[in-house]
């Protein structure tokens, strides 16, 4: 198998993933800061209440947030876990959570519904871009791949199991029905990125993990036993839902397949979604750009979806 090249865009992708994780760690910390600002307004008192480290963290955050006119509103303007976070007062919500909530709700959740507009527009322009650029699990699964490489070097056999692709559709309906009867927490133990952000919140706000940590660790261990990217491709229902939007996405990666060497299969071997950019229609592509980096002739480009070009209308 060919070694995967890493260009600048891959490093940029890892940087965005780490930035997303750091952002979701910063949200509860800044909320904690705001509460202590109201209660104590003094790093020494915070240090006495929560320990010396908390005092230093408070002091650092206070230096940053005192640049704003009103530190408390500035710190609380971003809040919420990945289900329903708001950045600078603007609400965003998970598309899958939105569908489930609208079915479950007694009262129509207007704020949450409007929050779904942003992510759905993103899905209709760039398809499954969430899966490899914003989802924190994309970062953790690259770490598990590093673990797998180490295992291979040492000589520990890896199972490399496969899961049928239809599993995620089954899990989607399963989650919708079960969450209707048992509450939305069911999704917290299906979608690992939600679990992760809840654990971050829990450890910072309550100084303890919730039960979700077992699920999170189980997913990481499970992923070592699977083929790379199998969890995202076959289990995660959000990936499936975004792929359905992705059929109609405005921009898509496109290969200039007429000029390709007939036997070249580099893009297929590199692709984490098992697609063949040379031939397939890429509706479940999540724009990780690995094929673009590895294409020996630079034939793959981001282009307007062939649904919307003039040829389609003729």
């Amino acid at each position: 198998m060919k070694k995967i090249k890493k260009s600048k865009i891959q490093y940029f992708r890892y940087f965005t993933l780490i930035a997303v994780i750091a952002f979701f760690c910063l949200i509860p910390i800044s909320n904690w800061y705001a509460n202590n600002k109201i209660a104590f307004n003094n790093p020494r008192l915070v240090g006495l209440a929560d320990g010396a480290l908390a005092g230093y963290v408070y002091y650092a955050l206070d230096l940053f947030y005192s640049l704003f006119d009103d530190p408390v509103t500035a710190a609380t303007s971003s809040s919420g876990s990945m289900w329903a976070f708001s950045i600078l007062g603007v609400q965003f919500s998970d598309p899958l959570g939105l569908i489930s909530e609208v079915i479950n709700s007694v009262k129509f959740p207007i704020k949450y519904f409007l929050g779904g507009i942003g992510p759905v527009i993103l899905a209709f322009t760039l398809g499954r871009v969430f899966c490899s650029w914003l989802c924190p699990m994309a970062f953790f699964f690259t770490l598990t791949e590093k673990i797998k490489e180490v295992f291979k070097k040492i000589g520990i056999p890896i199972l490399e199991l496969k899961i049928p692709r239809e599993t995620r559709i089954f899990i989607f309906w399963f989650g919708l029905i079960i969450s209707y009867f048992m509450g939305m927490w069911v999704w917290h133990f299906i979608l690992p990125y939600i679990t992760f952000s809840h654990e971050v919140f829990s450890i910072i706000v309550f100084n303890t993990f919730t039960v979700g940590i077992y699920y999170f660790v189980a997913i990481i261990v499970l992923d070592i036993g699977l083929i790379s990217g199998e969890f995202c491709n076959s289990v995660c229902p959000t990936g499936w839902l975004l792929a359905q939007f992705g059929r109609f996405s405005l921009f898509k990666l496109k290969a200039d397949s007429a000029n390709c060497p007939s036997r070249c299969k580099v893009c297929y071997t590199v692709c984490p979604v098992d697609l063949f950019p040379k031939e397939d229609i890429l509706f479940s592509c999540h724009l990780c750009y690995k094929c673009v980096d590895n294409c020996p002739k630079q034939h793959i480009k981001l282009d307007i979806n062939s649904l919307y070009t003039k040829k389609a209308f003729k």
Partner: protein
Amino acid sequence: MNRRRLLAGIIAFLAYIPVLFIGLKKNTTSSNRKRFLRPPGALKEDDFLQQCIGCFKCATACPNDCINMASFEYGFENVHTPVINARAKGCTLCMICTEVCPTGALTEITRDLEVAKKEVKMGTAYVDKDLCFSFHGRTCGVCYRACPLPGEAIKVGLYEQPTVNPDKCVGCGLCEQACIHMPQAIRIKPA
């Protein structure tokens, strides 16, 4: 198995689905199982469980740190829903949690004591006269001093003996937090 029997089986299963839905729905809509306090402005317990998505917003926003997110210890349906343990910390009725709630599981209430009197009904306090110090000759009156509606929700008589007016009590839990008797002589009954 012949084809007709399979078909009959499928039809029977499909006919069973609505029964399943109605039955399960009935089981989950009894309000008697509410055993703990919810944040102010919460919908009725069964509606609340349908509406709440468990996003941790109210718990992180609470300046008093009184809202906890439940785990499995409160039962399966209440996982990752907000819960107030009044003995540890009562609600100060600041209403910030109702502002941040994205789904309307907590209905928005303006931060005003007069509005809170009408809108908020988290529970009702009741006094255990066998335990209360004031009913045993030692004047105490701590619950009266802690109450945000003194003289209305809790009235004190001779030797500061508290009596709760259940119509006016909002169930914030500050009296239960403040009670100096161990175990607490005044408790909030969730409603």
